[in-house]
Symmetry: C2
Subunit: 204 residues, 2 copies
Amino acid sequence: MVDNDAGARGARRRLSVEDRRSELLRACLHLIGTRPWDEVSMANVADAAGVSKPLLYHYFATKSDLYLATVAWAAEELRAATRPDPSLPVGPRMRAALDAHLDWIDDHALAYRAVIQGGISSDSRVHAIVERSRSEVADRLAEAFELSNLTAKQQITCRGWVGFLEAASLEWLNERPITKHELAQLLQHSINALFPHFRQHSRK
Amino acid sequence: MVDNDAGARGARRRLSVEDRRSELLRACLHLIGTRPWDEVSMANVADAAGVSKPLLYHYFATKSDLYLATVAWAAEELRAATRPDPSLPVGPRMRAALDAHLDWIDDHALAYRAVIQGGISSDSRVHAIVERSRSEVADRLAEAFELSNLTAKQQITCRGWVGFLEAASLEWLNERPITKHELAQLLQHSINALFPHFRQHSRK
């Protein structure tokens, strides 16, 4: 029954385990935030992914595992999309990362809001993933300014700016009252304003 | 049995309903963040408050109601503590509000972290309280600059700064590596840096 069901619905495309897993996670990510997670069932996710519920359970033993895996996968996607290009000077490099960040949250607005604003992040494992992402953004900011040993004030300011980025992004997502380009400029200005003592970076 | 129990433990002090309620909420606030909320029982809260469990249930029908009431009460406490003093010029007025904010989160560090970082804020009612607080801080910031009609960019920057405040506060609470006074200065500087186009305010 399990095999038949999976076969009937999932046979059209033959995917590797990894590709299938990514497809399930992508489907789940698109469901997160569309309604409270409590109201999303494994059957809903299976339907959205076009697979059987048993197949979904084959990959994720519980709904909680699925959520955790989805957040981890999304964090990795965002990390990859915003990875700084070392061939660029620091100014354009930061700007490219900001643009990629905004493109990503624009495309995944509901899930971004749900996860950042608490969603299920009372789960300490989910919270750890979100915190790791924040920490990495702060580290990249410090790296952009070629700071290897941050003072406590610089560290606090870096983490503060990550909070600025999130809060400004969430506010923007409400009604997108300015263009993404304008928001990227605003964020770039906020970096320039908050880090005047950091190494002056190329504006080119 | 209920009355006896309540009488035996709660009779020493005769409190008004409002004072008793505040006392219960204060006890609950001090428990939030000491361990995952899932692991806190109504009996734990009753014990911490020195009252019987039935008395606690008399005030709060469910553990979820208690949490919600505690967050609402804490938000109101923080709001009252940081209310701007209109007799002060804008610079000292903002600084006094910042100092009061930092004093409050310093005193309630665990609960502040738990609520801001998601705790149970997947509960949409809790989330609404936290969002209202953020919104009010942003409004006060705009008022300090005597801005009645914010442009979209100013609005996004105000909300972004509230994110900066939260993230910087949480980072500071980890190890308190600088003094509260230094953190207040850092926050004041961040306002000055982010809002250069706002009406110049007195530094005195």
